[in-house]
């Protein structure tokens, strides 16, 4: 038979069974939509991880003392131990957890895996002495431990801020940092300069605002520059505003923090009750383990009774991407199951509908229709049906995406994902729809005709 005539028959059969086409393709719709969503969510997760780590230095090692937790709240949300800031209770506005990795990790809380990875490995041992790391420790480490390119010390706290467009005082994360914090954390300036060594030495009341903070208080980075804010009722001059940095995997979330010189903060805001984090950068990323061991030894010499949490960014990154990979794998297995279940459903529906048409196949055979033509007709019917299903499935996943995003799951739709789910849908539907016809077409005409 001519291909054009076969296509005409296919069209005839499909257009006369629109409802059946839709019913048959529902399994495909669900299957394709699932594949598409899984790919999109998987990619979204990968992108999110990449983004969170983008301003993280691979050679960075964080050291903090895991003292008694009475001193403050550390490990706020599982992301915390990387730069485990503790903060004194008296400065802690109840309910506000804007410190440490936890707060900064807000955007990523949809990834259950992270909690375990970054989890609470900092359980406090009894009879531990709580020590405060100091600037001297920082200097000593960079002096005595080999292979350290740079070192910095920082802490974060929360304090009331007034000024600008703010109607009343609000609490913000205040980060006490040294002048090299911006290079170590890969921060970029939107306007002005980062804090300087002199600022720190002279305990000057200057600050650098995170992008979101600047927008909230002054409306824009430009308006914030050179303006004044009041932190704990003391006047600070804004010397710079950071560019928007987005979500970060751990540490201080730069967009929502106010950076002030390390010494200034101790003098005016926190007093001595801080639990700072040391961050050292290994010269060679491959030597991170050695540096970590050396740091541990050096600290043990100074503080024999204390345990420190030492963690490196590289391991975190690997762990995060590994957990993300696990999640992707999980999603994919889910999709495969949906597809198999859907596939069996499709197969059943098609099996019944082709079975119904065994008589038709018998008539076609009796009239002298070649097996090739019969197979082609049924294959095309199955393919078109599943194509309809697959297209609807892709559209469905486009519709679902905003709903999923409500739960702050990052969904990254892609053309290749759509193509893949289309392909998946069409192939599954074609195979399952074709097989019963294939079987029927092998019967001799009387048998096909007499089958009910």
């Amino acid at each position: 038979m001519r291909i054009s005539e076969i296509l005409r028959l296919v069209w005839l059969n499909l257009s006369q069974n629109k409802f059946k086409v839709i019913l048959t393709s529902i399994g495909i719709v669900v299957g394709s939509a699932t594949i598409m969503m899984v790919l999109a969510i998987g990619t979204g997760g990968r992108e999110e991880v990449a983004e969170q780590f983008k301003n993280l230095n691979a050679g960075a090692i964080d050291i903090s003392c895991e003292g008694e937790t009475s001193g403050g709240i550390s490990f706020a949300m599982g992301g915390g131990d990387m730069i485990a800031f503790s903060m004194p209770d008296n400065n802690m506005p109840s309910g506000s957890i804007s410190i440490g990795g936890g707060g900064s990790f807000g955007g990523g809380n949809d990834w259950g895996g992270f909690g375990e990875i970054f989890g609470f490995d900092g359980e406090s041992t009894e009879k531990q002495e709580f020590v405060t790391l100091t600037t001297e420790d920082c200097e000593e480490l960079s002096l005595f431990v080999q292979g350290i390119a740079d070192a910095t010390i920082s802490y974060s706290t929360s304090a009331s801020v007034e000024g600008g467009d703010l109607d009343s005082a609000s609490y913000y994360t205040i980060a006490g940092v040294q002048d090299n914090y911006d290079t170590i954390s890969n921060l970029e300036m939107s306007i002005g300069d980062f804090l300087t060594e002199e600022n720190n030495e002279n305990k000057e009341k200057v600050c650098v605002l995170g992008y979101s903070v600047a927008k909230e208080i002054f409306g824009s980075a430009y308006d914030a520059y050179d303006a004044e804010i009041y932190i704990d009722n003391r006047r600070y001059v804004v010397t710079g505003v950071l560019s928007e940095m987005g979500t970060v995997a751990s540490g201080i979330s730069p967009d929502t923090a106010v950076f002030i010189p390390y010494e200034t903060g101790i003098k005016y805001i926190t007093g001595s009750s801080i639990s700072p984090t040391l961050t050292v950068i290994a010269e060679d990323v491959n030597q991170v383990d050695t540096v970590m061991a050396d740091v541990e030894t050096a600290l043990a010499d100074s503080y024999s009774d204390s345990t420190f949490t030492i963690s490196d960014a590289g391991t975190k990154m690997e762990a995060a991407s590994a957990s993300n990979e696990t999640l992707t794998l999980l999603l994919i297995s889910m999709a495969v199951i949906v597809f198999i279940v859907g596939g069996i459903g499709i197969m059943n529906v098609l099996f019944v509908s082709v079975k119904e048409r065994t008589n038709e196949i018998g008539i076609l055979k009796a009239l002298g229709c070649s097996r090739r033509d019969i197979l082609l007709e049924f294959l095309l019917e199955a393919s078109f049906t599943s194509l309809v299903g697959a297209v609807l499935g892709v559209l469905l996943s486009l519709g679902i995406t905003p709903l999923v995003e409500i739960f702050s799951v990052r969904v990254s739709l892609s053309v290749s994902g759509a193509m893949l789910s289309l392909l998946f849908g069409v192939i599954t539907g074609s195979i399952f729809g074709f097989y019963p016809a294939f079987k029927a077409s092998r019967l001799i005409p009387v048998v096909a005709l007499n089958q009910e």
Binding site: R2, R8, N13, E360, I363, L364, L367, G368, C369, V446
Partner: protein, 223 residues
């Protein structure tokens, strides 16, 4: 036209093979109009299906238009059915989702004819059977007699070497049955070779030659 020698056919009934057709010899010349008359269950349909190349025989030789059917494979038989045989089924066997035109045109399309060409060729047959006003109807919208006429039109449209009709009047009322038989006479007079099976002697009488089948054996004239 048709030459059958020693045809045997049986169905497996559990372990045993139940013989249905027993050593059938049957010959039909070109232009003949033969009725095979026999009671229900005597094996008429079984024989007809073998004549129509739709079923396999257990043993024997069958030549159709000089072609050794018993030595021909399924694939080639498909072509034989399409080109040499016009089969009229007892229960019409129309495709329910196709309209009259689409049902009638199928054998021509299967030959690779273009739709236009095929439609052209259908027209004469449709007129001959008086189906002009029904071409867009579905089988479900037709009476039994009309359905049978569609079925006959479909069998005729490809100008087959032989027309095979299995109880063509079996499901029809008397007047429709008479019409069909009248049509068969006309078709035979136009040169078509026809083999018809029936259990009804009155129907058989409209043919020019009658053979009887009793319990799977074929007898010329009276048994």
């Amino acid at each position: 036209m048709i030459e059958m020698k020693g045809i045997n056919k049986g169905y497996l009934l559990g372990e045993e093979k139940l013989p249905i057709l027993k050593n059938i010899d049957f010959t039909v010349e070109k232009g003949e109009y033969v009725a095979i008359l026999g009671p229900s269950g005597s094996g008429k349909t079984t024989l007809m299906n073998i004549l129509g190349c739709m079923d396999e025989m257990d043993s024997g030789e069958y030549f159709l238009d000089g072609m050794a059917i018993h030595e021909t494979g399924q694939h080639a038989l498909t072509k034989v059915r399409n080109e040499k045989i016009g089969f009229i089924f007892q229960n019409y066997q129309l495709i329910p989702t196709y309209n009259v035109m689409q049902n009638i045109i199928m054998p021509l399309l299967m030959r690779g004819m273009s739709h236009q060409e095929a439609q052209e060729q259908c027209r004469k047959t449709i007129e001959l059977l008086g189906l002009e006003h029904r071409i867009n109807h579905r089988p479900s919208e037709l009476s039994g007699g009309q359905k049978q006429r569609v079925s006959i039109a479909r069998a005729l449209v490809g100008s087959p070497a032989i027309l095979l009709a299995d109880e063509p009047t079996g499901a029809l009322d008397q007047s429709s049955g008479r019409d069909v038989l009248k049509l068969f006479r006309e078709l035979n007079e136009m040169g078509n070779t026809i083999v018809m099976i029936t259990h009804d002697l009155n129907v058989a009488k409209s043919a020019r030659r009658i053979v009887r089948i009793v319990d799977g054996r074929l007898y010329e004239n009276e048994p």
